[in-house]
Subunit: 496 residues, 2 copies
């Protein structure tokens, strides 16, 4: 069975050899460059958080709050001054997940949020999954974007008004600060309504149990994000505005895929997209996914759109240990495009920098909301989005239909068109992935993510037509790289 | 010490001997009677849920959804027909708490909700603490109002379209049904927006863990409402519209205090109230509460209102075992009015029929929202509203300030004026309850609810001026009735 997969050569994922790179041209995005140049010459906002205007040349959906947040300081003296200042401030060392959130915030994925949440934003997120803005409008915000500190850090910060955030090697990343008056004048309309002052740095209690219960709907031990980022975190949260010193990079060979919402908007404008449909994923793409994406484009054309563009948008932040790592997923997505399963002309592949919560109906709102900020006005939602098995009980953590139901009713997402996932399965009569036909259920084979991963681990092949062979080979290679096959190794049982 | 308390005679709580009854005249409420008469003669709505119009003679706050829901069938043939029909339907026997919710729904406290929640309403409540209506507006709804059934009941109901709800003695209380076309025509504007049909009876999964986690922010064992109403409940929830056969009564001598929102509105109109401020409580009233209520009226007069009326609104449904029972609380409130601590001319005492969740910031929204429906446009919120001790950890379950913060930001409550509670404590220099003066903290004594209850249990007296003597005597009598004092009985330690 492995021979089929072996017939395909995996190319290395370098810009020179990667045809998928034709899909996106970070250095050549005219709108994006324009935006950044504008920032550099805007006298009123050399140091503070600023807004990149939504691209005007194309009628993309408006970002939440009306303007896309951009927290990265412009290159030059201002940036250098921030870097020098960081050395004199109390410092908080960021975990990898913290850094991913700085990345998310810095580029405006969470617009209009301008930094780590203060308590009023945290409470609104936990209780209402949305934030009310100064003009009375509501934007969706379902997962807390918070920074935890411990007692010693709290003491060290004291009543200082500016705090430096540094990476694992103590290099300054950002300054967390109160809002300066200059910032106010730009931002007044998009600030929250509070009955108490909200513009200073805030340190408030990190009630982990309540945060977990309200975000995940369970407090069972074993939730991956909780274990990774909450359980051992400090008992305080610190909120405030961010001034990010430079664009967050990971130097893992994938940074060129990490397009900001502003860059994506510019790319959609360049392509004259009149509809953008986003597909969030954290798994390899199989032909069922591809069928769905192709079919969605067909439906949008039927609705009268002239040029619907797909944003194929794998999640690039923290994922749990048994998910396929980002670099291998990107290789796999590349193969899917190379093999012509998806049309490069109408597809943009980019990495969504957010970490994964696995918080089901709560998290799917974040996945949708952030894509509004990137210019998507259609969002494809699958069965059990952001779901996983219950960590201690033998069942799925969430009802498989709750994600799409909650999404369709979520405050602040009314302007987004939700496209529920049609069920695709392997049609044994056609030997390909097809939309499930309930009139002949026995003709269909359902291949879950777990089953797919187990087959690849065992170097077994799925039925022909399940995934393009090049893509499958990447998966098999990944599992080989983790645990090379042994002649007599027992195969894992493949779930039915 | 008990002699002071013994100097006051406790009168029985009968209408004839109870001066507090002058505050409210259920049989004489002209607006209320008018409404009920109107229902009886409205040809278009003899059987279905109908709306009582908000009283027109006074500019009270508009009920949620624009019209006050009234689900009680008018007396006469229609009611008799419902009762006969109930005998032929599959039946669900209601627990005491279920019956309390039928009561709540029937009178429009949860307007515009017209019955037990279907899944879309349940999900919106859990995730967003609000419901979006057909016209795009939003009403607050923070606690699930749901009816649980078990597997056998689900089977018995099958695909029947109408189900009878019966009380503990199998007397029919209501019919749970799909919405009839007639109902639609009245209700179209206040129905939720769904992307799937929503008007039939719905039976859906009761994920208890998720419900508990999202409502309480914890799943720790020992939450009173969970133990009483959820833990042993069935694994399904049934949602649908309600037609309630007659007004829910408990025949406990307190029904005359159970004024519906429509009756309260009529009473406020009769008094020409131009502001109504609600005070929710589940504890005896002490002079600190009274000070606050009197001071609130003073502030409202200063703001230009001519006739602010207080709705003193003790919660009358399920409470936990160590709370003072409703009948004793009502006796105590009666004494407070008799003793002139509150002015009967500007106070309406009535019972709020809802059961208590002890769900802190989530529940306080329900307490506020339901009072909008009863005509209150000001809501007094205290420290740690609807809070309690964590059931397994040595701390309060909720941050004491979160209730008022969450309330001030809650969707659908913008039209309600939130009045945060000033801290009152016993001023030893003045020998009375006074607003705490932080410049001389040592002059003040804080007497918590737990401390108050322990003193009363021990037949000890609080300092003079903490509570009117008649009210204190009721408390002592209550604890005597539970465990009569013994000569040598050890006193419980009074918390500091």
């Amino acid at each position: 069975m492995a021979s089929m997969a072996a017939a395909f050569v995996v190319k290395s994922l370098t810009p020179a050899s990667n045809p998928a790179h034709n899909l996106i041209h970070p250095p050549l995005l005219p709108g994006s460059l324009h935006i950044r140049r504008r920032l550099q010459t805007t006298a009123a906002a050399p140091l503070r958080a600023t807004f990149a205007p939504a691209t005007a040349s194309c009628s993309l959906i408006e970002p939440d709050g009306g303007r896309l947040v951009d927290l990265v300081a412009p290159e030059g003296p201002a940036r250098d001054a921030l870097r020098r200042e960081a050395a004199r401030c109390p410092q908080i060392r960021l975990s990898r997940i913290d850094l991913e959130w700085v990345h998310v915030l810095s580029e405006g994925w969470a617009s209009p949020l301008g930094g780590f949440m203060r308590e009023a934003e945290f409470l609104q997120t936990l209780h209402f999954n949305c934030l009310r803005l100064g003009d009375g409008s509501v934007v969706n915000m379902s997962v807390p974007i918070v920074l935890a500190i411990d007692d010693a850090q709290k003491r060290a910060i004291g009543d200082r008004r500016r705090v430096a955030l540094v990476d694992a090697r103590d290099r300054p990343v950002a300054i967390l600060s109160e809002s300066a008056p200059m910032f106010h004048s730009i931002d007044m309309l998009t600030k929250m309504v509070y009955s108490w002052p909200c513009y200073s740095i805030e340190i408030y209690k990190h009630n982990k149990e309540e945060r977990i219960a309200r975000t995940w709907g369970t407090t069972a031990p074993g939730l991956p994000y909780v274990q990774e980022a909450i359980a051992k975190a400090g008992n305080w949260l610190i909120g405030g505005d961010l001034e990010v010193i430079e664009r967050v990079k990971y130097n893992d060979g994938l940074d060129q895929y990490r397009l900001s919402p502003g860059e994506l908007r510019a790319e959609f404008a360049r392509r004259n997209a009149d509809a953008v449909f986003a597909f969030q994923l954290r798994n390899p793409v199989h032909n069922g996914h591809a069928l769905l994406m192709t079919d969605t484009r067909r439906r949008l054309l039927e609705m009268g759109y002239k040029n619907p563009v797909l944003l194929l948008h794998p999640l690039g932040g923290y994922t749990k240990a048994d998910d396929v790592p980002l670099s291998w997923r990107m290789k796999q997505h590349e193969k899917v495009l190379e093999d012509g399963v998806l049309n490069p002309e109408t597809t943009v592949v980019a990495i969504f920098p957010s970490p994964m919560h696995y918080a089901g109906p709560t998290e799917v709102q974040w996945h949708a909301k952030s894509r509004i900020n990137a210019g998507a006005n259609f969002y494809i939602v699958g069965r059990d989005p952001a779901g996983m098995s219950h960590p201690v009980e033998k069942r799925d953590l969430y009802d498989a239909d709750h994600g799409k139901k909650v999404l369709s009713m979520a405050p602040g997402l009314q302007k987004l068109n939700i496209l529920p996932f049609k069920v695709a399965a392997y049609d044994k009569t056609q030997k390909k992935m097809a939309f499930f036909d309930p009139s002949r259920p026995d003709d269909f084979l359902f291949i879950s993510g777990t089953k797919m991963r187990t087959l690849a681990k065992n170097r077994e092949n799925p039925p022909d037509g399940f995934m393009c062979p090049g893509g499958w080979k990447v998966l098999v290679d990944y599992y080989d790289s983790v645990a090379p096959p042994e002649a007599n190794k027992l195969r894992e049982p493949v779930p039915a």
